[in-house]
Structure formats: structure tokens, C-alpha cells
């Protein structure tokens, strides 16, 4: 059965706290922290973007897979912040990891679920026997407009997964997808910042699609929430995945390992994929993992993984996701953050 043969994550070193952003906009930090269940978010360094973080996450995935990168037959980078409007991020990433030239490449976009789309297609190509290995990446350096609620959560991070049929660390037992035309969040061409429909992003958008995908996934797999050791949901804030998990019947202890948002922010396309890497870092053979992503626009991808015996051999082969979160961070003031994120209008 096809599954994940190697995985890896990357998070930048810089952070900004909710208090630091709230101070600038005269907002009430405690109520934002409570409402979003979020303390701080990661910020990419000025020399980091989706491509650089994807390369680092992919290198970690290759270390764990223990394969020759030349055997990777496809690379799909999912993001809403690809550095180029025209020129795939995957071209640079594939070149950097040494996977060119016999490789299929495409960049994916679907708000926050572009990463799991890439994973879905990479897995499917391997299952179809078109190639031995395929790489799916979710990465973002997401932007929130200054003063907007999204500015408190829009962060940066990446996760990469190499799919194959042999030597898996987690087999993919079931997948599904659930999608409708729901305009809850978007960015028009040439616009710098995305727009969103406020509270509309909740019930008819996030909750409807995550619940829709999750319920169908439980049904087609014949499983119940209590069968799973871990559950990972898309994390636009700390509150939504906690609420949706509870509604579906999952317990907090099944969700907390993969819930990175409170100290990382919403890494958009990297969100549920990074949560999955944090779970794989500690998972034990035989355990089941439930995962449902969400991307505005809107849709969800669902996956059920069964961890294999090989997991314990690869967990320590690369930096773990929590290593990136627990390492000493550099806290930014709002001015430096604004400079790093290109929010300051410079002289021509």
C-alpha cells in the first residue's frame, strides 16, 4: 500500500507576539489571544520565502526517506504565496534537492489546502504506478493586511512528504475530498493582501467543509473517532480545530499534538501538513492518524494514515517539527516585522 516514506518540516526563527501587533492598532490583545487561541506567530526572515522553506522541509523529508532524490518523479508545491507569479516554485526546489531533470512539476493553489492537494496528487500518481516516488509540499509566507484580524495569525512554515509504495512510515488507508464554491476568502490578481468575509469564514466555510470531509471519511473507512491516536485539522487559529474536533467526537488529547497554531500561527498551506509532521515525530507503529485540511474558496481533503514499524527508525534522522518550535526564537517589534514583510513603502 502506498504511503509516506519520508517527511519533514521547517519553521523560521522569527516570531511576533499578539500583544506587539495589538499595540499598534489599539486592539485588545487579551481578547484576541482568547478569541484566536494564539500567542504568537512565525515570521519569515527577509531572505526566506516559500521556495527556501520548501527546500529545507524537503531535505528533511529526503533524510528520513533515505532515497536518492533522482528517483522522485513529481514535485507539487502548494502555496498561496509562490514567489513568482509565473515560474513554478517547484523548479527551484527540485533543482536544489537534486531531483531534476526527469521530474514532473506543478505549483498548486487553493488558499490553505494547496499543500494537501499536492500530497493528494503525489500519492495518487504513486498509487497508479506512474512513478516510484512523488513529493508533495505545503508552504506559505502568508500575508495579512495591516490591522486586519488575519495579521495576528498569518505566519510562515513548510512541510514536505515523499510518497512511495515501499518502506513507508505511514500508509495512506483512505482519502477523500469535499468542495463547493464558497467565497469566504480570496485575493484578486495584483492585490497585495487577501480579503475575507469575516464571520462567514466560520460556519458556512471552515466548519461545513471540514465536517463534511471528516464525516464522509469516517463513513467510507468504517472508523470512529475513538479509533484514532491523533487527529489533525486545518488551523487558521487555535479555536476552529479545537471546536470542530469536539463536534466530530474527538477528544482534546487526540488533537493537541498536531495543534501548532497557538505558538506558530496559521502557516496556511503548511498548516495541517505541519501538524501531521509533529504527530509523525512522536507516533508509534500501528497508530491511526486522521487528517482534514481546509482551503477557502472552499474545500477540504481528508486522509487516514496507519503508522508502520519503520517510523521509529526515521523520527530522529532530521530535525523534528517541535525542534523548530522549541529552539530559541528571535522576537520582533512591529517596525522590524513591517520591514521584513515588505509593508513599508520605500523610495523608488
Amino acid at each position: 500500500m502506498a504511503g509516506i516514506v519520508g517527511y519533514g518540516a521547517y519553521a523560521p526563527k522569527y516570531r511576533i507576539k499578539v500583544e506587539e501587533i495589538a499595540k499598534v492598532w489599539g486592539a485588545d490583545a487579551p481578547s484576541y489571544k482568547r478569541g484566536l487561541m494564539l500567542r504568537e506567530k512565525s515570521v519569515p526572515a527577509p531572505d526566506q520565502d516559500v521556495i527556501t522553506m520548501s527546500v529545507e522541509a524537503s531535505r528533511n523529508a529526503i533524510k528520513r526517506a533515505g532515497i536518492d532524490a533522482k528517483k522522485i518523479g513529481a514535485i507539487y508545491v502548494g502555496s498561496e504565496s509562490h514567489p513568482y507569479a509565473v515560474k513554478p516554485s517547484g523548479t527551484v526546489v527540485a533543482e536544489a534537492i537534486g531531483a531534476t531533470p526527469d521530474i514532473h512539476c506543478a505549483d498548486f493553489e487553493f488558499a490553505c489546502k494547496a499543500g494537501t492537494e499536492g500530497m493528494f496528487v503525489a500519492l495518487s500518481l504513486v498509487e497508479a504506478g506512474k512513478m516510484e516516488y512523488a513529493l508533495g509540499i505545503g508552504a506559505d509566507t502568508s500575508q495579512g493586511a495591516p490591522g486586519d484580524a488575519l495579521e495576528y495569525s498569518a505566519s510562515a512554515g513548510a512541510a514536505a512528504f515523499i510518497f512511495g509504495k515501499n518502506d513507508t512510515v505511514a500508509e495512506v488507508e483512505h482519502t477523500n475530498a469535499y468542495m463547493t464554491d464558497t467565497p469566504d476568502f480570496w485575493r484578486r490578481e495584483y492585490m497585495h493582501y487577501p480579503r475575507h468575509a469575516g464571520r462567514f469564514t466560520g460556519m458556512p466555510a471552515y466548519f461545513k467543509h471540514v465536517t463534511g470531509a471528516a464525516t464522509a471519511l469516517l463513513e467510507i473507512s468504517g472508523t470512529k473517532p475513538e479509533d484514532f491516536a491523533y487527529a489533525v485539522f486545518h488551523q487558521p487559529n487555535g479555536k476552529f480545530p479545537t471546536t470542530v474536533g469536539k463536534k466530530l467526537g474527538f477528544k482534546p488529547e487526540q488533537i493537541e499534538t498536531g495543534l501548532l497554531c497557538p505558538r506558530l500561527g496559521n502557516t496556511y498551506s503548511g498548516s495541517s501538513p505541519m501538524g501531521l509532521t509533529a504527530v509523525l515525530d512522536v507516533a508509534k507503529p500501528g497508530q491511526l492518524i486522521f487528517m482534514v485540511s481546509y482551503g477557502s474558496g472552499a474545500g477540504s481533503d481528508g486522509f487516514i494514515y496507519r503508522v508502520t514499524d519503520r517510523i521509529s527508525k526515521v523520527q530522529d534522522l532530521a530535525l523534528k517539527t517541535t525542534d523548530y518550535l522549541d529552539r530559541e526564537t528571535i522576537q520582533l517589534d512591529y517596525g522590524t516585522y513591517a520591514k521584513f514583510r515588505g509593508k513599508i513603502r520605500m523610495s523608488e
Partner: protein, 131 residues
């Protein structure tokens, strides 16, 4: 200013740290050479440099060229990689005053510069404090 073509030619070194090892005397050259400067032989095998090392020396740039002026002050250093090869690169993800000679570093993939607002982005290697 470098050109897109030159950037492209240097991809194997800037992205993947590909070097050449002389089949005669074993000297490692980065970037690769056609003729070994140690023994004069012309046969090499491809090797990939280690991605960890130590800061040998460094300086802090406070008055930067135009392409880098947003980044100043920033550190440029000579890093001796674990396989003995010395490379020169920026040292980032720390304050310049925190950098010390002998400090262990890891090589990461970063943006080095961009060829103006509409030009290509130049990627390459930089050193960061080892985790």
C-alpha cells in the same frame, strides 16, 4: 550586477554545494576546477560539501551595496565546513554581535538577492547558527 545566465551556471554550487575532488591528490575544489591547482591533474569526481561547519572569521557590513542596503548591518563570514572546505557566505538568523569565531553553523537555502523588483530571485547558501 550579475546576469541571469551567470546565476543559472552557478546553480549546482549555489543550490547543491557540488564540488570536485581531484582523483590524483584528493584535493577538493569549490567551485570545481578544470585543472587541480595542487597536482595539475585533470580528473575529478563530484562530491557534495558538508552542510555543517564552524565560523573561521567574519566581518559586519554596515555600509552595504545598493542590492543589500535593506539588510545592513549584516555579517559575511568564512565558514570551514566539516569536510575542510572553506566557503564565504552571509551569516544570518542571529544578531551580528552574537557571532563568534568557532561558532558551529548549519548551511541553509536562502534568497541571496533579487535582480530588481521585476527580475529573477537569486537563491543560494547562507550560514545560520546550528540548532
Amino acid at each position: 550586477m550579475s546576469t541571469s545566465a551567470r546565476y543559472w551556471r552557478e546553480i549546482p554550487q549555489r543550490y547543491r554545494y557540488e564540488a570536485s575532488k581531484c582523483k590524483g591528490c584528493g584535493a577538493v575544489w569549490f567551485p570545481p576546477r578544470l585543472i587541480c591547482a595542487e597536482c595539475g591533474k585533470r580528473e575529478f569526481e563530484d562530491v557534495t560539501l558538508s552542510n555543517t561547519g564552524k565560523v573561521q572569521t567574519f566581518t559586519v557590513i554596515r555600509v552595504a551595496p545598493n542590492e543589500f542596503c535593506d539588510e545592513s548591518p549584516y555579517a559575511i563570514g568564512v565558514v570551514e565546513l566539516d569536510d575542510g572546505v572553506m566557503i564565504q557566505c552571509q551569516i544570518v538568523d542571529c544578531l551580528p554581535e552574537e557571532i563568534k569565531t568557532g561558532m558551529p553553523v548549519k548551511i541553509e537555502f536562502r534568497k541571496v538577492k533579487q535582480e530588481g523588483q521585476a527580475g529573477i530571485i537569486n537563491y543560494g547558501y547562507k550560514a545560520v547558527p546550528a540548532a
